[in-house]
C-alpha cells in the first residue's frame, strides 16, 4: 500500500500541476487581502469569499485536478496494469490512491484556508489567540475543508476511473449540481458536498461563521452532514473498488 501511495504522490506532484494548484488555492487569499485593505466591512465580505470562491470553486477544482487523474491517468497512459498485475489487494490500491489525493488536496487548501481565515478574523497580531473570534472560526474553516476534500476526492476519483472526460464532467457537476441546483432547491442541500462543507464551517466555526453560505437558515444538523459526507465517501470508494475489480484493463 505504501508503494502505491508513494508512487501516486510522485505522479501527482509534477511541477506544472503543483503550480496550477497553488495558484488556484492562493487566489482566494489574494482576494481576501485585497478586500481587507480596501473595505471596512471586510470580515463579512471575506466570509462571502469563503463560500463563493473557496468552497464553491477552488475546493472542488483543486480536488478534481488531483482526484480525476489519480486513477484516470493510469487508465489513459495504460500504466494501470503495472499496479494491477501485482499481488496487491484492489482495496489497498484504492485506499493508497485516495489517501494521496486527500493529502495533496488538503495541503494547499488548509494552508491558504487558514491564512484566509486569519485575514478575515484576526483584528491584529495580538488577537490571534482569541478562541471565539479567531481560533474557532479557523477550526471551522479547516473542518469544513476536510469534509469537502474527503467527499469530493471519492466522487472525482471514481469519475476518473469511469470516464476519460472526468475533469470536464467534474466541473459540470460542480456548476450544475453543487452551484445551480443546490442554490435553487433547498432539498438538494441534503445531497450537496458544498453544503456539507459550509454547514460544517458554520457549526464548528461558531458565531463568526453563522452567516456563511446562508446555511444558518437551514435545519441540517452537523451529525447529518458528517453522516452524509461519510456516506458519499464510502459509496464512491466502494464504486471505485467495484469498477477496478470488474473493468477490462486497457
Amino acid at each position: 500500500m505504501l508503494t502505491v501511495f508513494s508512487l501516486t504522490l510522485r505522479q501527482l506532484t509534477g511541477v506544472r500541476r503543483q503550480v496550477i494548484l497553488l495558484l488556484f488555492a492562493a487566489a482566494p487569499v489574494g482576494m481576501a487581502i485585497l478586500v481587507r485593505y480596501l473595505t471596512d466591512d471586510y470580515t463579512n465580505q471575506i466570509i462571502g469569499l469563503f463560500d463563493l470562491l473557496l468552497v464553491a470553486a477552488v475546493l472542488p477544482l483543486v480536488v478534481a485536478i488531483l482526484a480525476t487523474t489519480a486513477l484516470g491517468d493510469d487508465v489513459e497512459d495504460r500504466t494501470l496494469s503495472f499496479i494491477l498485475l501485482r499481488p496487491v489487494a484492489r482495496w489497498q490500491i484504492v485506499a493508497a490512491k485516495y489517501l494521496a489525493v486527500v493529502i495533496l488536496g488538503l495541503a494547499p487548501l488548509v494552508v491558504f484556508g487558514v491564512v484566509m481565515a486569519g485575514v478575515a478574523f484576526a483584528q491584529d497580531i495580538g488577537s490571534v489567540s482569541n478562541y471565539d473570534e479567531v481560533i474557532r472560526p479557523i477550526l471551522g474553516v479547516l473542518t469544513g475543508l476536510v469534509v469537502g476534500v474527503l467527499a469530493y476526492s471519492a466522487v472525482f476519483m471514481w469519475l476518473g476511473l469511469i470516464s476519460s472526460q472526468a475533469l470536464g464532467l467534474a466541473i459540470v457537476y460542480v456548476v450544475v449540481w453543487e452551484g445551480f441546483a443546490a442554490g435553487i432547491f433547498d432539498g438538494i442541500r441534503y445531497l450537496s458536498i458544498r453544503s456539507y462543507s459550509l454547514i460544517t464551517m458554520s457549526e464548528v466555526g461558531g458565531e463568526s461563521l453563522t452567516a456563511i453560505g446562508d446555511v444558518g437558515a437551514t435545519a441540517i444538523q452537523l451529525q447529518f452532514v458528517f453522516g452524509g459526507a461519510a456516506t458519499v465517501m464510502i459509496v464512491f470508494l466502494a464504486l471505485t473498488l467495484i469498477q477496478l475489480r470488474n473493468m477490462d484493463v486497457p
Partner: protein, 321 residues
C-alpha cells in the same frame, strides 16, 4: 507432416501431463465485435509463441489469461486457479503488456524496485540487481526511463517482469522496438528461463520473430484459433501455399500461351486490366522459367510482382485450408 489442429478444437501446445494454462472455450466480445471466438487451448512449460496478424485477438486473449480482462464466455485457469479474481496469483505470473508506457520519472532501477516492492520480496536489492543483470541493463540502470530508447525500455520492463522470479511468463510483443542484438539476447534469456522449467508465452505478429524461439506455436486469425503445434508443421503449411505473381509484358498473349503447361506454373489467368496472374508452388523455378519463356516468345517483361505477401494473407491462407 504433422497436421495442425484447427479452429474449434483444443490446441495442445504442451507435452507434459498438466497444462500450466488452460483456456476452455473462451470468447470475448465488445458490443457486436467478437475479439476472441471460442478458443480452447492448453499451454505447458517451455516457450509457446502466440502468433497472428495485428487485430487477431492475441492481446485480448493474453489479457484474459492474465486476469486483466474478463471472459465473455468460457474459463481460463493458470496453475489450476481462475486467471481473474485472486491477486495472489500474480506471485506466480510475470506479465509484460504490449504498451510501452512506463513511469518516466523513475530511473530504470527504481522502476524494477517498484515492481519488487509491490511483490514484497525479501531481498529487494539482490532481486533487482539480478533482474537488471539478466537483461544487460546494469550500465543504464540509474538513468531515468524517459532517456531510454524503445529497446532499452522494453528490456527494463522485462526486468521488472522477471524480478519476482515467476514460473509463468506472459510477454506481449516483447521484441517491439528492439534491435537484432537485443533480440538475440532476449532469445538466449528466454531459452535459459524455459530450460529452468518455466512456462513462457511470447506473442508476436512477426512469423520469423518466434520461428527460432518457440517450441510450440499457437496461431490466431480473426479471433479464432487457426492452428497450433510445433513450428515445423506450421512452416510446412506455409511452404505448401501457392505464390501469386502478377506479370506485365509487351506481348501478354504470347507470354501467357508460353507459360501454360510450364511445370513451374500452377495456373495462368489474364486479368481484366490485361496483366497475367500466375500461381506457382515453386517460386525459384518460375523465376528462371518466366525469363526463358519471355525470350522464346519475344515478349519483353515489364513488371514481375509478387502478390498477397502480407502476413495477413499468409495467416488467412492457413485458416482457409
Amino acid at each position: 507432416m504433422t497436421t495442425p489442429e484447427t479452429t474449434m478444437q483444443t490446441a495442445n501446445a504442451h507435452n507434459g501431463p498438466e497444462p500450466t494454462i488452460r483456456v476452455d472455450n473462451v470468447s470475448k466480445w465488445f458490443g457486436n465485435v467478437v475479439a476472441v471466438n471460442e478458443v480452447s487451448l492448453e499451454i505447458g512449460p517451455g516457450i509457446t509463441g502466440l502468433l497472428g496478424p495485428n487485430g487477431a485477438g492475441k492481446t485480448t486473449l493474453l489479457h484474459m489469461m492474465t486476469g486483466l480482462s474478463a471472459t465473455s464466455r468460457g474459463t481460463i485457469t493458470v496453475l489450476g486457479q481462475p486467471a481473474r479474481g485472486d491477486t495472489q496469483l500474480y506471485r506466480q505470473i510475470g506479465v509484460m503488456t504490449e504498451h510501452q508506457a512506463v513511469y518516466d520519472f523513475y530511473t530504470g532501477r527504481e522502476f524494477v524496485e517498484f515492481s519488487a516492492r509491490m511483490h514484497k520480496l525479501d531481498d529487494i536489492p539482490d532481486a533487482v540487481q539480478k533482474a537488471i543483470e539478466s537483461v544487460n541493463m546494469t550500465d543504464a540502470q540509474d538513468r531515468r526511463l524517459s532517456t531510454y530508447s524503445r529497446g532499452m525500455r522494453q528490456r527494463m520492463r522485462l526486468a521488472a517482469t522477471l524480478v519476482h522470479d515467476p514460473p509463468v511468463l506472459v510477454l506481449d510483443e516483447p521484441l517491439n522496438g528492439t534491435d537484432p542484438r537485443q533480440r538475440l539476447e532476449f532469445h538466449d534469456l528466454a531459452r535459459r528461463l524455459a530450460a529452468e522449467g518455466r512456462t513462457i508465452i511470447v506473442s508476436s505478429h512477426i512469423l520469423e520473430e518466434v520461428e527460432t524461439l518457440a517450441d510450440n506455436i499457437v496461431l490466431m486469425v480473426s479471433g479464432k484459433l487457426a492452428a497450433s503445434g510445433d513450428f515445423r508443421s506450421i512452416r510446412e503449411l506455409l511452404d505448401d501455399r501457392p505464390y501469386r505473381i502478377r506479370v506485365t509484358s509487351t506481348n501478354q498473349r504470347a507470354l501467357a500461351g508460353g507459360l501454360i503447361g510450364n511445370e513451374a506454373v500452377t495456373s495462368v489467368t489474364i486479368e481484366d486490366d490485361g496483366s497475367i496472374l500466375l500461381l506457382t508452388h515453386d517460386l525459384p523455378a518460375l523465376q528462371i522459367q518466366i525469363a526463358t519463356v519471355a525470350r522464346d516468345t519475344g515478349a519483353i517483361l515489364q513488371t514481375v510482382e509478387p502478390q498477397d505477401e502480407s502476413l495477413e494473407s499468409v495467416f488467412t491462407y492457413i485458416v482457409e485450408r
